[in-house]
Every structure is written in C-alpha cells, then in structure tokens.
Amino acid sequence: MSQALPDATSLAQSVQNHEVSATSIVASAIARIEKHNPLLNCFTTVLAEKAMQDAAAVDAAIAAGKDPGVLAGVPFGVKDLFDVAGISTLAGSKINAENPPAAQDATLVVRLKQAGAVLVGAQTMDEYAYGFVTENSHYGASRNPHNPAHMTGGSSGGSASAVAGGLVPLSLGSDTNGSIRVPSSFCGIFGLKPTYGRLSRAHTYPFVDSLDHLGPFARSVRDLALVFDLLQGSDSADPVCTQRSPQPCLPELTKGIEGLRIAIADDYFLKGAEPEMLTALETLAKALGATQQITIPEAHRARAAAFIITACEGSNLHLKDLRQRPQDFDFATRDRFLAGALIPATWYLQAQKFRRWYRDRVRELFAQVDIILAPTTPCPAPLIGQTNLILDGQEVLLRPNVGLYTQPLSLIGLPIISVPVQRPGKLPLGIQVIAAPYNEALVLRVAAYLETQGIVSATIPDIIDRRWFRKY
C-alpha cells in the first residue's frame, strides 16, 4: 500500500486558498519527521521551533491580505552543506561541528523562503559529499523508505529519503558526480541536476569547484519545475553562476514530446547494468517512441577524468585538516582524501583538458538528438553495509562503481533528471533524461510527459521497519 500525500504545488494552493494553514502543514511535517526520522535518519538537525515561527509568519501574511508566495507553507529540507543561519554547516563531518553557526542562509535557501517555503531541517549526507551511500560513521546511515535495510544512495541520501518517505515534499541537494541522481534512483523520486553554473552555489560548503552542482528533489515534475524556476538567477557571490537570463520551465511542461529526437545511450551505458535496469530503460524508450541509439564517445575515460578532478580538488580543500587531524575524518573518506592530495599536477591538468575535448564531442551529438536516455545506477538500492557489486559478471567494489553512469555526464555539466520507475513489490529505480546544456526545460518536459503517461511516478511507501529482513 502506498500513500498519497499532496505535492508542494497542491499544498501551497491549499494554503493560498485558505483551506489549510501553513502552521498546520508544517506541524504535521514535523510530526512525521519525529515519527520516522529515528528509523530513516534523514535529518541531522530539525528546526521545529524556527519552522513553526516561519509558518506562523506565512499565515499572518495571508491574514493581512499579502501574497504569501507560490510555495506558501511548504516544508522543505536541505542537505547539510547548505548554510542555514544559526546552525553550523556540518557537511556530514565531525570537524565542521566546531565551526561557528552560519551567519546567513545559502542563496537558494533564501530564494525558497522568499517564495513562502518553510525550512524544517538539515539532512544527512556522506562526509564532505565524498560518497554514494550515505553511510556516515559520525551520524549513521540514512535508510531507504521503500525498505530500510537498503541504502538511500548518496551523497544527498537524507534529502532523497525525506522526500521519498513523505517527511517533506521538497529537498535541496548537491551533485558533483551523481549525488542527486543516485539517491533519486535508489529512493524512487524525481531529482534534477541542472546545468553546471545554472544555480548559485553561494554559501554552501563546497566539494569540487569544477564539478559541484546544486538542485532539487521532489515527488512531482511540476514541483521540480516550480522550484527550479524560483532558484534560477545570477548571483555575484558565486563566480561560476551563469549571467544568462532565467528560463521559466513551468510553462513548458505541457508541450509534450512531438518532434523531439530521443535516443538511448548505447555502448558504455548499456554495459554492466542489471537486466531490470535495462527493462525499465526499454519501457521508457518505448513510451517516448525512442528507437535510435547514440554513442557517447570515451565515456569510460570521462568517468576517469571526473574521478581524478574530484580526488584532486576535494583533497586540496581539506589539506589543512588532513595534515593536522586525519583521525577526525570518516574512515570512508580519509584514505581517499589523503591519497588524492598526492596526485601529480599533470594527471589533473590532463583530466581537465580531456574534459574540454569530451565536452566538444558531446556538444556535437546534440546536433543529432535532443534527449538522451541512460540508466541512473547499475542496480536498485543495495543493502546497507554491502561492499561489492556484480557488474558484467565481475565482482567489483560498490562505492566507486555506483556512479558509473552519472559521472561521465556531470563531468561536462549537462542538465539531467533522474525519473523514478516504480515496480510493485520491488525497489524503485531511476533513468536519466539528459539534454544539451541550459535545456532544463526540455528534460522537465519529457519527464512531465512520462509522468502523465503513468510511466514514472514517486509514490510514498508505508514505512515499515524491515531492517532485519534481508529479503525484500
């Protein structure tokens, strides 16, 4: 049995129409967090008191006849690397807990609050975003609402789990190598990684400057589009943030797929995935009338380049703490950070040059097609604590391979939605809908079409403590 909880758009409409108060919506979100967070562990900080004050302010604005904003009274959470005024930005680490509280909210948090949304807390992640599992040795593992014995994926695991479990309708996360898309796939929700530089990263804790993106999670495509539209806009506090004018996506959702050239990524992106991923991909392709296949060249080297750039920039960011207090890092990130600090400059520069070359080749592909489809992950959510995966009949380490299909695409900053395919009695899984840079409207359009056709959806499962039942 799955539950139907309203999405952010309909919650906000109910508040605007005086059908329900922001205070009661936020109170029920906090009650649901209190009920399920002990199991799911998706929030590291719950801001109950402040959230209730903010909700009361929304209600007061409505009572005074003011416009409460398009997200009036909608509760949301943010990955614990977004600055939230008044609390320390942990970024999943023990070290940052010693930092003073943030003086101001991250730009994207400000923009959602200005639209009437109410921040209810900060969410669990892999330490310093360096992981795909959200099994954090300091703050515990976040758990998958579809089956809490299974992982959420990472590194924005708490953000995805909170949306999938119906604790909040919206979260914000970050994606450097797949950290929005991987947990969206494992938790069965919609996640948008916009074009690199499209959304401001100001006042968030960085990981890899060359590759960091921020983006939303939601249970409906219209919510993703609404939030993305609110978040767009240049920001002088983030030098990477684009100066392009925002492109409203919400009005594009109903345009359908007629005339779009849609292809399946073959070669690298069809190798290694479990058969059920490929079945889901075929289902989507069929619904979209996509018969063409296209080869993204040298994708395995693109993944390697992303790996080198990540290890090198990520390690450099933490060099001081690696020198002075390596024992305070999560054991899952520590040795990787230490090793990354030793990478020769020539490997890093070659990876950056490769990135440029590869960007040019993929740009050429978008002269032939508008949309490319690929699996998000090689498999549905593995068990928490699982260390190995079978890829192409070979046993490989799980942690470095979960992002197999996401890394080559974020390397060049393409806009991508991971859309959720629900399978009754089985764990959900995600497929990437990919477009050329700055074409978020197009991926949202295709996702909306698939949602209308009933091919993709985000349903909230009954959350049952199945931790000790190893078989789903």
Partner: protein, 62 residues
C-alpha cells in the same frame, strides 16, 4: 611486492613528505591502496591522445 607496487609506495611516502602531509602508520596501507586505484584510473586519461591545441575550458575573470 612487485616493482610497480614498490614504486607507488615510495611515491606515496616521498610525495607526502615533500608536501608536508604526515600519513599515520595505521592509514599508510589504505592510502597506498587508494593511490594505486587512482593511478590505474589516471592512465585512462593520460594514455588518450588529445590534440595539441586542447585548452582547459574555465576562464579566469580578473
């Protein structure tokens, strides 16, 4: 230990010393294992022939 494993261990020890990054004995093998993985992955990038005029994309705005 093969010659190449020995080379990597030596590289890790010497580079860590050069950049002033002490690696506690308990973590040393883990760091070497990770560096070995990085080195194998880096080869996929470094062995690929790029045109001489390939420039890195980011633009620094003074």
């Amino acid at each position: 230990m093969t010659d190449s494993e020995q080379d990597l261990s030596t590289f890790v020890d010497q580079t860590a010393r050069l950049i002033g990054l002490p690696i506690p004995a308990d973590y040393r093998q883990g760091v070497i294992d990770n560096f070995e993985r990085i080195a194998a992955i880096a080869q996929l990038v470094t062995e690929f022939p790029l045109p001489e005029d390939t420039e890195i994309a980011p633009v620094f705005e003074p």
